[in-house]
């Protein structure tokens, strides 16, 4: 019998250290008004000692606790992140070890702010081809790749993690998807550069290891490619969608996308106000917060579109029923 993927549980964890715009204005030349008017962001969580694996492990633990699943029932763990603790081991393997999910295989996905969408898409295929249960977590400690001297990027980002537990179901919940990449624009957003280091190599130019973004190119990408992607996935479903959960980079970008698509702004949920841009974590954070608030309800048959977009360039949407 065919089996399909169902999101059966959501969870999140953010570091307790909240940093407001006013607090940032004490350490760099910025202001609450400047940040809010351009981005909608009012505060963000900045990890003090917890790394990405710590945030992810918390989320995995909550997912087990809330769902009542045992760790050895988990078949796979996928963590989407652009800020792993190490090159190897993967964050997913660290999580697997810490929660004792000994039956699970585990790996990370590197697709920046689209990582959770990519991860969920891969999870869907794993379930469709026979796996029973898995965790998909988006998790970031972006504060460690931010240049804290650069006021144009430092104010935008935050730390956090969230994820879902997916299970096999006889009913189809994942209705449509479209994932895209364009490596020709890879320099529009870069982070975490590691230079060659060996006895034969001489450094020729210094490349920043910090997160760097070309504002104009990313704005253009967000408005044109992402809007088209949502249009493509909607086909004739536009009127039937209850909510759109887009990557939480910037409130004004979301307002423009809603206008371009001629879809009411109130159908676009947001929470960047209190989280900032958390890259791969932003969509599952919004999903779990919305479930907690009662705006979204698992098992309700609400139809939602999840859309990620970011470095790579990568972007993509999933149309799912809850």
């Amino acid at each position: 019998m065919d089996q399909y993927t169902k999101i059966s549980c959501t969870a999140r964890y953010v570091p307790s250290n909240v940093v407001t715009n006013d607090q940032l204005s004490k350490i760099m030349d910025t202001s609450d008004e400047w940040i809010v008017s351009r981005t909608g962001i009012r505060s963000r969580h900045i990890s003090i000692a917890e790394n990405t694996s710590d945030l992810s492990t918390k989320v995995a633990g909550y997912l087990l606790e809330k769902s009542g699943k045992k760790a050895n029932e988990i078949d796979f763990i996928i963590v989407a992140t652009m800020t792993p603790d190490f090159g190897t081991p993967s964050v997913a393997c660290q999580v697997q070890g810490r929660i004792g999910a000994h039956q699970a295989f585990a790996f990370d996905i590197s697709a920046a702010c689209s990582g959770f969408i990519y991860g969920l898409s891969v999870a869907d295929k794993l379930i469709r081809t026979g796996k029973k249960c898995g965790l998909v977590i988006g998790s970031e400690t972006l504060s460690k790749v931010i240049d804290w001297q650069d006021r144009t990027t430092a104010v935008l980002f935050g730390d956090g993690a969230a994820g879902v537990l997916v299970e096999a179901s006889p009913t189809q919940y994942f209705l449509n998807e479209k994932l895209c990449s364009d490596g020709t624009r890879n320099e529009s957003l870069t982070s975490g550069y590691t230079e060659n280091k060996n006895p034969y190599y001489k450094e020729t130019e210094e490349v920043s290891k910090y997160l760097k973004m070309n504002g104009r190119q990313i704005y253009d990408f967000s408005l044109k490619d992402v809007t088209k992607n949502i249009k493509d996935i909607l086909a004739d479903e536009k009127e039937t969608i209850d909510y759109f959960l887009l990557h939480q980079a910037n409130k004004r970008i979301i307002e423009k996308i809603s206008k371009k698509l001629a879809i009411p702004r109130e159908k676009f949920l947001t929470n960047m106000e209190s989280n900032g841009n958390t890259s791969a974590a932003s969509i599952p954070l919004l999903l779990d917060e919305s479930v907690d608030k009662g705006v979204l309800k698992l098992g309700s048959n609400q139809k939602i579109v999840l859309t990620g977009y970011g470095g790579g360039l990568t972007w993509g949407s999933l149309l799912v029923t809850l």
């Binding site: 351009r38 504002g215 104009r216 704005y219 408005l223």
Partner: protein, 75 residues
């Protein structure tokens, strides 16, 4: 013609009156536009005139935009 179209785009995007938008108007300083507003104006101009504008650098006044678009159109 190019000016009128660009003027209309700026008026629409920034919610200004047409008379506030002249060739010599400094977009960011006089119209209180921030970088995102400028990105959006450039996007609309790209669509309206079917031109490609790689960077926002060098666009200070309305005249700068008009000159660039006219230059692209004669190519």
């Amino acid at each position: 013609m190019v000016f009128e179209k660009i003027q209309a785009i700026i008026v629409e995007e920034l919610g200004k009156d047409p008379e506030e938008v002249t060739l010599t108007t400094n977009i960011q300083e006089e119209l209180d536009a921030d970088s995102l507003d400028l990105f959006q104006i450039i996007n609309e101009i790209e669509d309206a005139f079917d031109v490609k504008i790689e960077t926002e650098d060098g666009f200070t006044t309305v005249q700068d935009l008009v000159t660039y678009v006219e230059g692209q159109q004669t190519k």
